[in-house]
């Protein structure tokens, strides 16, 4: 021991010529949620390699993942309290938003709010994933590890104050999801989804990086704090590079949130990827995409370039809402329908972002929160109906669901109504708040477009509900000829029954953990639908802030 100490001292002595690096202050408390999530993922790898028994128990894996997610959420509470606290006059206390690690990591209501959402989507997806992995014979801890690590990428995007960090968060998020999308090695659709997602994702990343490079070239920094400061204090003789850079950043984020025209991957990937992963993609990945988008655009570019990017956001929002809704209507595959509907939802959230105001941001955050639970629950149901093989997603597979699994049908109906924005669900207030933000921002075109789209969108959810409740599976398989005699008619009925049973496929199982996940999502959806104040209060307090380190 002594020897070691000596050694280190002598090494230090030798290097005395080298000046000590002025390493930045790190407020470790700011990183606790991220550390729990990311290190939780890494530790799971370690555990499972040291204790193979742990890896074999799917319950342990799911339980661990959910525990990590809950831990992340719990760790957010003291941070939230700190950020929301206001010091009284003369009192010395730690309060308000702050940034650390040389200003690259910002902690504010915004980042904590979205961290909680990311963790929630991890928990919901992990619970659904448990049974799925078992049924499909996919063993090993990797899906859970990737889920947690991917979510940590989202957390990074929500907290990053530096474009490079945002980019690394984006890649952590994306690369893990590419793998998750393709994890079912015996489903070619899963692989196809992975290839499409990956190539297009890399393509979009290249644009995003080019954007960072241009912004860097125009402002001399990648730090949002510096960029904002530079743009506030300098007059650019020529802002072409900067604007092109902002455009490229918008393309990169647009891809991640599946904004039209950067949306083409979404339906294919959602359809091909394993359903529990889609539950995460539609909730977590979208939340992360919006986290990055809002953080970068609202903090760094609103004062300087809001007039430049808001019109683009307006067009994108309208196109996204409309194209998503219209394309969803003509689908025959429920999973694909909801993929398009998730595109449409992105458009609604963009309505809030477009407002670029406090009201708009909290509306978008409220929408994200409501949407996370609605969509995670919806895809949870889809996972169950998909059954083994994850292939039974056609609308016809939902016929008569109300008869076979009444509870499941009712729950799915509530989620679909929530997506349609029917009152007494969280979806109603989500739409209500974003439209209000648009009206308050005097973007009447956007508000009207949003309302029209909401009307069109109601069709598509209605179609699925009709299929579940109002289709008699017997109708699909012909009717009994009325001219038959009694015995013949009876025989025909039995035959018809058999045909229906064959067409319906195997029975739908409802595993406990998946039921817990869907139940939680339902609870939140309905509770927030009755008392939006449960979330809107937090969303109002979760505005992004840019605070330089050390201040």
């Amino acid at each position: 021991m002594n020897n070691l100490l000596h050694l280190s001292q002598s090494v230090l002595a030798q290097n005395e010529a080298i000046p000590q690096l002025p390493t930045p202050e790190i407020a470790w408390s700011a990183f606790i949620p991220l550390l729990i999530l990311a290190v939780g993922g890494l530790l799971l790898l370690t555990f499972t390699s040291l204790m193979p028994a742990f890896a074999k128990s799917s319950w342990a894996l799911t339980g661990y993942t959910v525990a990590v997610a809950i831990g992340t959420i719990v760790a957010c509470i003291p941070l939230w309290n700190r950020v929301q606290r206001v010091c009284e006059a003369g009192e010395v206390c730690q309060a308000g938003a702050f940034s650390t690690a040389a200003g690259a990591w910002g902690v504010d209501g915004f980042s904590i709010f979205l961290t909680i959402l990311m963790a929630a989507s991890v928990a919901l997806a992990a619970l659904v994933m448990h049974d799925y992995l078992e049924t499909e014979g996919l063993t090993g801890p990797e899906p859970y590890v990737l889920l947690m690590l991917s979510a940590s990428g989202g957390v990074i995007m929500a907290s990053a104050n530096d474009l490079i960090v945002v980019f690394i968060g984006l890649e952590i998020l994306s690369i893990a999801v590419y793998v998750l999308a393709g994890m079912h090695l015996l489903r070619l659709a899963s692989q196809e989804a992975a290839v499409k997602y990956l190539v297009l994702g890399a393509f979009a990343s290249a644009f995003f990086l080019y954007g960072i490079s241009m912004v860097y070239g125009a402002t001399g920094s990648t730090s949002l704090i510096d960029i904002q400061g530079f743009l506030a204090t300098n007059v650019l003789t020529s802002n072409g590079t900067l604007l092109a850079g902002i455009a490229m950043l918008l393309i990169g984020f647009g891809f991640k949130i599946a904004a039209v025209p950067f949306h083409a991957w979404t339906p294919d990937v959602y359809q091909g990827a394993p359903s529990p992963v889609v539950a995460y993609m539609a909730s977590g990945v979208k939340v992360a995409g919006f986290a990055g988008l809002m953080r970068v655009f609202l903090l760094a570019f609103t004062d300087y370039a809001a007039d430049d990017w808001r019109p683009v956001m307006l067009v994108l929002a309208i196109a996204t809402m409309a194209v998503g809704a219209v394309l969803a209507i003509v689908q025959t595959d429920v999973k694909r329908t909801l993929a398009y509907s998730s595109i449409s939802h992105a458009g609604f959230i963009m309505v809030g972002v477009h407002a670029a105001s406090d009201v708009g941001v909290s509306a978008a955050l409220f929408y994200l929160a409501a949407y996370t639970f609605i969509v995670a629950g919806s895809f949870g149901v889809i996972t169950l109906v998909g059954r083994k093989g994850d292939n039974l997603h056609a609308l016809s597979d939902y016929h008569g669901l109300s008869r076979r699994r009444p509870m499941l049908a009712v729950v799915f109906t509530i989620f679909l109504l929530a997506q349609a924005g029917v009152p007494l669900t969280s979806g109603f207030f989500a739409k209500f708040y974003v439209i209000r933000a648009a009206v308050e921002g005097e973007s009447y075109v956007l508000a009207i477009a949003a309302m029209i789209t909401a009307v069109i969108g109601a069709f598509l959810y209605l179609r699925i509900i009709v299929a579940m409740f109002m289709s008699d599976p017997l109708d699909d398989h012909g009717e009994i000829d009325a001219n038959l005699s009694d015995e013949e008619a009876a025989a025909a009925r039995i035959e018809l029954r058999d045909k229906v049973t064959a067409a319906e496929g195997p029975p739908i199982r409802i595993p406990t953990l998946a039921a817990v996940s869907i139940g939680l999502a339902l609870l939140v959806t309905v509770a927030v639908g009755f008392l939006p104040g449960l979330v809107s209060g937090f969303a109002n307090d979760a505005l992004p802030q840019l605070v330089a380190a050390g201040s």
């Binding site: 930045p24 991917s150 990074i156 001399g220 003789t237 072409g240 299929a467 067409a503």
Partner: protein, 220 residues
């Protein structure tokens, strides 16, 4: 003068390599052409006094990434020449060139539209290249552990994901693909997609007859 010669030569190497990548029939050739481009870029790094990056560029890119490409090509045995015809998307090629021209034009205009000072912030001076007698790798190293320490640490997660993901995907699994029947030849499939449902009416179910017919049409 030397500057110009170096630039022109390296630019020619870069562009030749790049065009080679997209024009070569054989993926192996594409990979080798990629190496050429990477070298050219490294030369330009040197010309702009980014010596350390030039070295990294050669070692990491040419030495590791391209080798990985070649390795996969050989592993899969896909090194035979690819048909460079337009494939199923006849209009795609001319459109692709238009798109490329569009990207180029828009980027160039944005970069060159103003006066010669492209960059807004001159002399941000976080670390001055050549100003002090400090090697650039030192400056990079210092920045990595100060301003960019967070990003630097976070790359650990990224690399872990890459490893875990690669292991997971490269695993060999036995068994027939569960959805092989959906991967039917083109015509059978297109016909199904064209069936656009009437709004709000529950669509006609794809009967099993239909599938069987499609299967017999050209099963794999």
């Amino acid at each position: 003068m030397v500057d110009i010669i170096v630039f022109v030569v390296s630019a020619a190497i870069i562009l030749t390599g790049a065009i080679g990548v997209i024009a070569a029939r054989n993926p192996v050739h594409s990979a080798l052409m990629l190496v050429m481009t990477l070298f050219g870029v490294a030369v330009q790094f040197v010309a702009q006094e980014a010596h350390f990056l030039a070295a990294v560029q050669v070692i990491v890119y040419a030495g590791a990434i391209v080798i990985l490409f070649l390795f996969v090509i050989m592993l899969l045995g896909v090194d035979k020449a690819e048909e460079l015809d337009v494939g199923r998307l006849t209009a795609q090629r001319p459109m692709a060139f238009l798109a490329g021209a569009g990207v180029l034009a828009s980027v160039l205009v944005s970069l060159l539209a103003g006066d010669e000072s492209i960059t807004g912030a001159r002399e941000v001076g976080r670390a001055i290249i050549g100003g002090e007698d400090e090697a650039d790798f030192r400056q990079i190293g210092r920045l990595l552990f100060t301003d960019y320490v967070l990003a630097f640490e976070l790359t650990a997660i990224l690399l872990t994901i890459a490893v875990v993901g690669a292991v997971m995907l490269a695993r060999r699994v036995r068994g027939e693909a569960v959805d092989a029947d959906t991967y039917l030849p083109e015509q059978a499939r297109r016909r199904r997609i064209r069936e656009t449902p009437v709004l709000l009416r529950t669509p006609v179910v794809e009967t099993s007859d239909d599938m069987a017919e499609a299967n017999s049409g050209g099963g794999e």
